[in-house]
């Protein structure tokens, strides 16, 4: 659904109208089929924690967000696309690497990465593309750390990651890049078989339970799920702050880690970059807010709209308010599929928001807001570039 060009960060009007009428609606989607759209906060939580609402993409009735998603996920069967107990088995293999403590341990590494990228921006002049010059290389570096990709391979990894993260890469190019990435990860897994390092790949190899193919699929998933999302949160978050100068000043002038952490939660809620809804299909009949959803019917849980539900958030949920208590937002989803990389993303975003505006206090957009171009059809909402100056 389209957003209003003048208000690119607001919810699409159509979604808002549906949400105002009812927390559960029937909608027609891109491929002509119909699905249930869940827009209320309480209803979204109920569906996402209901084991009858399946994530299994092979089941008839599952609604894909876009043709690309269908192509990618039917080829790559992994954690987000299977139900428990298979899901729990795959997830438990990697939870150790995504704990709160592991994420905090990476904070100094992320700080150094962001500082170096900001140094390079400052050294290069007084303009930059915040997406390509900061957000993407920062996310690549972070994912390399988590997976345990050696510095020697880091460049190739980053180059492929860059293309994977750029919204709107044509489908053909995209699937070739995915295949190249798969090949690169394959060689990393084979290296790890002789010399397992730290990070997800090394740990999975040491655990000795999964065949190479599955380890590659897991690494590819972490890349696909994490790289673009953190890059776009960084860029779009900056755009949101640059267009709300009073809020930007709060972040820039704060030395309080608790405030920065709260600001990250509010930006996650406000932007809800995973904007195409959590996709599910009813495995059995279930009832939501008095509506009967029958076995085999598709469900789209609009977590972005739920994150703007006035019954769940104080004040005006359409406003960006960095003092708001937004910690119960659904930007990382809810239920057993809630984001695996959330602790990592939080630390990374706290570091980048807490550093960028402090180090470049005169940062501003280099083009008018209405000239920024967006990608609406990818799983993650983002901009193609964000020209800034200082």
């Amino acid at each position: 659904m389209d957003r209003t060009p003048q208000c690119p960060l607001d919810l699409p009007v159509e979604l808002r109208e549906l949400a105002e009428r009812s927390p559960v609606s029937r909608v027609r989607i891109w491929d002509g089929s119909t699905a249930w759209l869940i827009t209320g906060y309480a209803e979204a939580r109920a569906v996402l924690t209901d084991p009858r609402a399946s994530s299994d993409q092979r089941l008839p009735g599952y609604t894909f967000a876009a043709p690309q998603a269908k192509a990618f996920h039917t080829r790559n069967r992994s954690m987000p696309t299977v139900d428990d107990p298979e899901h729990a088995y795959l997830r438990r293999m990697v939870t150790a690497d995504f704990s709160h403590r592991k994420a905090e341990a990476l904070r100094p590494v992320f700080q150094r990465t962001v500082d170096e990228l900001v140094d390079a921006m400052l050294a290069a002049g007084n303009t930059a593309d915040l997406f390509a010059d900061l957000a993407v290389p920062m996310s690549s570096k972070a994912i390399c750390e988590v997976l345990g990709v050696h510095h020697s391979e880091g460049e190739r990894f980053a180059a492929l990651g860059r293309i994977m993260a750029v919204p709107g890469s044509p489908d053909a190019v995209h699937s070739r890049v995915v295949e190249d990435m798969r090949a690169l990860l394959g060689s990393l897994v084979r290296q790890a078989r002789t010399e397992p390092g730290d990070g997800v790949i090394g740990h999975l190899v040491r655990a000795g339970e999964l065949p190479d193919e599955e380890i590659i699929a897991t690494a590819l998933l972490v890349m696909a799920a994490g790289h673009g999302a953190t890059a776009h949160m960084t860029t779009l978050g900056t755009m949101a702050l640059l267009t709300h100068p009073d809020q930007l000043a709060l972040v820039r002038d704060s030395r309080d880690p608790a405030f920065i952490a709260n600001a990250v939660e509010e930006l996650l809620r406000y932007l809800s970059v995973a904007h195409l809804g959590r996709r599910r299909v009813a495995k059995e009949d279930l009832e939501v807010a008095g509506v009967l959803i029958r076995k085999g019917e598709g469900i789209i849980v609009a977590t972005d709209t739920a994150n703007h539900d006035p019954r769940a958030f104080d004040g005006d949920p359409d406003a960006l308010d960095l003092h708001r208590d937004a910690r119960h937002h659904l930007a990382f989803g809810f239920g057993v599929h809630q984001c695996l990389g959330q602790q990592l993303s939080r630390v990374l975003l706290q570091v980048v928001y807490g550093t960028l505006y402090r180090r470049i206090p005169t940062l501003e957009l280099a083009i008018p807001v209405d000239q920024i171009s967006y990608k609406l059809d990818l799983a993650i909402y983002g901009v193609n570039e964000l020209p800034v100056k200082w």
């Binding site: 997830r91 939870t95 995504f98 910690r327 057993v336 695996l340 602790q343």
Partner: protein
């Protein structure tokens, strides 16, 4: 108030540790553990939030 944690349900999101770090931690596998089961009334808010934000509904709160 008493904390009951169903570790089999835990998905390692870490939400409980963020919400109530004095009551919850994650073990080496990233799975939640309860540090202290019995919660005095003045701390109920934090622990309630941990239960509310647990995506796996693995935390339930009972009376002492």
């Amino acid at each position: 108030m008493r904390i009951h944690l169903d570790r089999d349900k835990c998905i390692g999101s870490g939400q409980c540790v963020l919400a109530a770090p004095e009551w919850f931690d994650q073990d080496e596998d990233g799975i939640a553990v309860v540090l202290v089961e019995s919660v005095p009334e003045k701390e109920w808010d934090e622990v309630n939030r941990a239960a509310y934000t647990c995506p796996a509904l693995a935390i339930s709160l009972g009376s002492e």
